[in-house]
């Protein structure tokens, strides 16, 4: 066996052999490894089960008419939910048009101008609180601010409600993206004679664009699946509508209503609508991951 000398000259044996394992240690090792592995797999079970169930129940009813036709009146079989898909896109569009400028500008303030100030601290705290507020309260907010003042349910009110859900997500993810832009980049821009505005608008924000795109798509995916904020803002509509001042149908609300009425055809439509909603959210989430990966 090899030997080595320690600092005061004593000879020591080098022993790298593994010590003997007791049976208990072996079993315990196996058991704990099994436990952690099993629970890891369990965490993906709900997702797989949910996707499986929605596909299984929704695929039969899904067809071209799902996208082009209106829902059938009670008792009839034919029809689709094209108006709800359009409505979801419209309300999400309104929500994005409100929350993206708000959220991105707020994030720019937090990361570029207000870093370390009391205002920034307060705003960050507020967005964290906002992120934790139940979505139905966002609907209540839009109800009092928009529905009551404009005199009726509307797509716009729905968009406002969804934007309240989106803003904290956009702010936090955008701010993180901006903070990831190295400080050297800002110094370099300022070093070649850029003003603060030029440095931020031409260097810092473009460098953070993938993160900002991710932030927006994440927020869209979250808001796209919300029914609660839309129940008493956008309400519902059995017909095609593109008027943002009229009530509008959306996928989550359509699913909510159709899942609880006792007609089989409507229930099938609800399943198919759930599948389409799942598809939209999956596409948005996957594209957000792809956007995040892109770097120049």
């Amino acid at each position: 066996m090899a030997t080595t000398e320690d600092t005061i000259g004593r000879t020591k044996k080098i022993n790298l052999t593994r010590s003997a394992r007791t049976p208990f240690r072996s079993y315990f090792d196996f058991f704990m490894t099994f436990l952690t592995g099993a629970f890891t797999i369990l965490t993906i079970v709900p997702l797989v089960a949910l996707v499986w169930d929605v596909v299984r129940q929704g695929i039969d009813r899904l067809g071209i008419q799902s996208f082009t036709e209106l829902p059938p009146p009670p008792g009839l079989e034919e029809g689709g939910f094209g108006n709800a898909i359009l409505g979801t896109l419209i309300t999400l569009g309104i929500a994005a048009a409100i929350s993206v400028p708000f959220g991105v500008l707020a994030a720019i303030y937090l990361s570029e101008f207000g870093r370390g100030t009391r205002i920034a601290y307060g705003v960050k705290f507020a967005t964290n609180v906002l992120a934790g507020i139940p979505a139905i309260l966002a609907g209540l907010f839009a109800y009092t601010v928009v529905v009551l003042t404009t005199g009726g349910f509307s797509a716009f009110a729905g968009g406002v409600a969804l934007s309240v859900v989106m803003i904290p997500i956009v702010v936090r993810a955008t701010e993180e993206g901006l903070l990831l832009v190295p400080q050297e980049m800002r110094q370099a821009a300022v070093g070649v004679g850029a003003t603060n505005f030029q440095s931020i608008s031409r260097i810092v924000v473009p460098a953070a664009l993938p993160s900002i795109a991710t932030a927006v798509t994440l927020a869209l995916a979250r808001a796209g699946g919300e029914a609660a904020p839309l129940l008493f803002t956008a309400l519902n509509n059995n017909f095609w509508s593109t008027d943002i001042w009229q009530p509008i149908a959306t996928l989550p609300v359509l699913i909510y209503f159709y899942a609880i009425i006792p007609y089989e055809a409507q229930k099938e439509i609800a399943w198919a609508a759930a599948l389409v909603l799942l598809g939209i959210i999956l596409i948005v989430s996957i594209s957000s991951r792809l956007l995040a990966r892109q770097r120049l």
């Binding site: 370390g116 190295p182 050297e184 980049m185 800002r186 110094q187 370099a188 821009a189 300022v190 070093g191 070649v192 004679g193 850029a194 003003t195 030029q198 031409r202 260097i203 473009p206 460098a207 770097r295 120049l296």
Partner: protein, 276 residues
């Protein structure tokens, strides 16, 4: 400390008298309650290469950042004393730091090209400084030639600046700096992140740039100072009672004199490698 022995190379008889383009007068810098630099007075003569050497924490980078007001970006920084550029106090009330930085460019320790194409890395500074779009191709080529990078990148100007090697990136940063035709180029340890071959290229470049620009270079590498600099300033850090450290200027003279015949004991010890 020896702020009474005013360190201006002009005052030494061995020096050719030259116009000072930058002048620091009794400059002190504090970050919050921490004093980084105390009482520095020195002149930077035109079209010379001046090296700042000294151990870590001696305030040499802090001083170089005073010359183009880059310290403004660090909250809580206070600059005392006076820094003048061609006789104008650059910390004066009416001075626009953006204009200062346009005249006094900076190359950083870590190569930091913008995440844009090679072409746009150079065009960015030129555009925001009002150069015309029609001149842009010419400016890009001229700057890249000045930075000895043109031959290597002329066929891939559209590619990302980040696709270049570290040494090329640093030369791109130098090209970006000279594109806006400053008077002074400040370099904060420009070769410390580079391999020996890239370092040599950057050093050769500094020698060439001297024709048109005044260069102030911070370096940890004493050989580098002897190779590139006409004048060398040695800074040291000292702890005062209570353990607070501050940096100050020990000696400033022709590079040859600093390395071969230093007047101060600290300088002699440092350049002979006994501390730092």
């Amino acid at each position: 400390m020896n702020s009474d022995t005013i360190n201006t190379p002009n005052s030494t008889s061995s020096n050719t008298t030259q116009e000072a383009i930058l002048r620091a007068e009794n400059v002190s810098v504090t970050y919050g309650s921490f004093q980084a630099l105390r009482g520095v007075t020195l002149d930077i003569p035109k079209n010379q290469v001046v090296a700042f050497i000294g151990p870590s924490g001696c305030g040499k980078s802090t001083l170089i950042r005073c010359f183009n007001r880059l310290n403004d970006l660090i909250p809580g920084t206070k600059v005392g004393g006076k820094v003048t550029y061609q006789g104008v106090d650059i910390y004066g009330d009416k001075v626009d730091p953006v204009q200062v930085r346009r005249r006094i460019g900076m190359v950083f320790q870590k190569p930091n090209p913008f995440p844009k194409s090679i072409y746009d890395n150079i065009a960015f500074g030129a555009k925001i400084n009002g150069y015309k779009k029609s001149e842009m191709d010419e400016i890009v080529e001229r700057s890249l030639r000045q930075a000895a990078l043109w031959e290597e990148v002329k066929d891939k100007l559209k590619e990302s600046g980040l696709s270049l090697s570290g040494g090329q990136q640093q030369r791109l940063c130098i090209a970006r700096t000279v594109a806006i035709e400053p008077d002074v180029v400040l370099m904060d340890e420009p070769a410390s992140a580079l391999d020996p071959i890239s370092t040599r290229k950057v050093e050769e470049l500094i020698q060439e740039l001297k024709e048109n620009y005044t260069i102030v270079i911070v370096t940890h590498n004493m050989q580098q100072a002897t190779r590139v600099a006409d004048l060398t300033a040695f800074f040291n850090a000292e702890a005062e009672e209570g353990g607070k450290r501050f940096g100050y200027l020990v000696e400033y003279n022709k590079t040859e004199a600093i390395f071969n015949n230093p007047k101060e004991e600290y300088t002699r010890q440092y350049v002979s490698g006994r501390f730092g």
